[in-house]
Homo-oligomer: 142 residues x 2
């Protein structure tokens, strides 16, 4: 049985984050001491590590909630439910990649167009492009 700081050390989460995840139903201490100290058993620890792993991949806390509810009763859930969550996440990531690549492209073009030197910015071609608005729109959402 680990105390919260030990679980923190083991998972790389902070104690604050562990309590925060508990508040949101992601992890849980299956025991408490008389004084109220949280104690985590092996099942708790594996669950916390699962959350950390999923978080590292980029799943949101909501995604992870869904994955966890599958995890606690795998026989009642299908592989398809799991792939649906994963595919949805991949779609999100791909959409954001498209946006960022467009931003990257625009910024690179701007940088190539400007001397970047100590001359004053009166004829700066980056400023000119921003003035003229002749740059691709890359953002659909932040």
């Amino acid at each position: 049985m680990l105390k919260i700081s030990e679980l923190a050390a083991k998972t790389g989460l902070s104690t604050h984050t562990i309590r925060f995840y508990e508040k949101h139903g992601l992890i849980n201490a299956s025991e408490r001491s008389e004084a109220g100290y949280r104690y985590y058993d092996d099942v708790d620890i594996r669950r916390a590590q699962f959350v950390k792993t999923a978080r590292n991949i980029g799943f949101s806390l909501d995604d992870i909630s869904q994955l966890l509810s599958i995890r606690v009763d795998k026989t009642s859930h299908s592989c398809q439910e799991v792939t649906d969550i994963t595919q949805y996440k991949l779609d999100e990531v791909n959409a954001r990649l498209v946006e960022l690549q467009s931003m990257q492209n625009t910024l690179e073009i701007l940088l190539e167009s400007c001397c970047g030197g100590p001359e004053n910015a009166t004829h700066c071609s980056i400023m000119d492009a921003l003035e003229a608005g002749d740059v691709k729109s890359t953002r659909s959402a932040a």
Copy 2:
């Protein structure tokens, strides 16, 4: 001279956002009617469009503040200042791209590993991988 809703129509910003930008010093109505209505002249309009363009590219409001302070007095600022801001943004974008590409890669591998069928999730290889933690860590920040 445009009223706020007309500026909104012209720039694609909402009236809420225009007031919000004003509160943050990005744009400004150079005149007010007796009743307090905002009126925007050509200079105001061009500034608002500059902000919108920069925002579309992905610059933050803080970045845009800096660009605007260069814009109002170009002779006191160098091209290098402009390229510095742009390069910094590009570095940010590139860093995020690396993260997202790693996420994309991990998610694709997970999806390939799983049948995605109606079978129950007892032997789901995505769940197994998340359990085992044998996936790359892709996140340094959200």
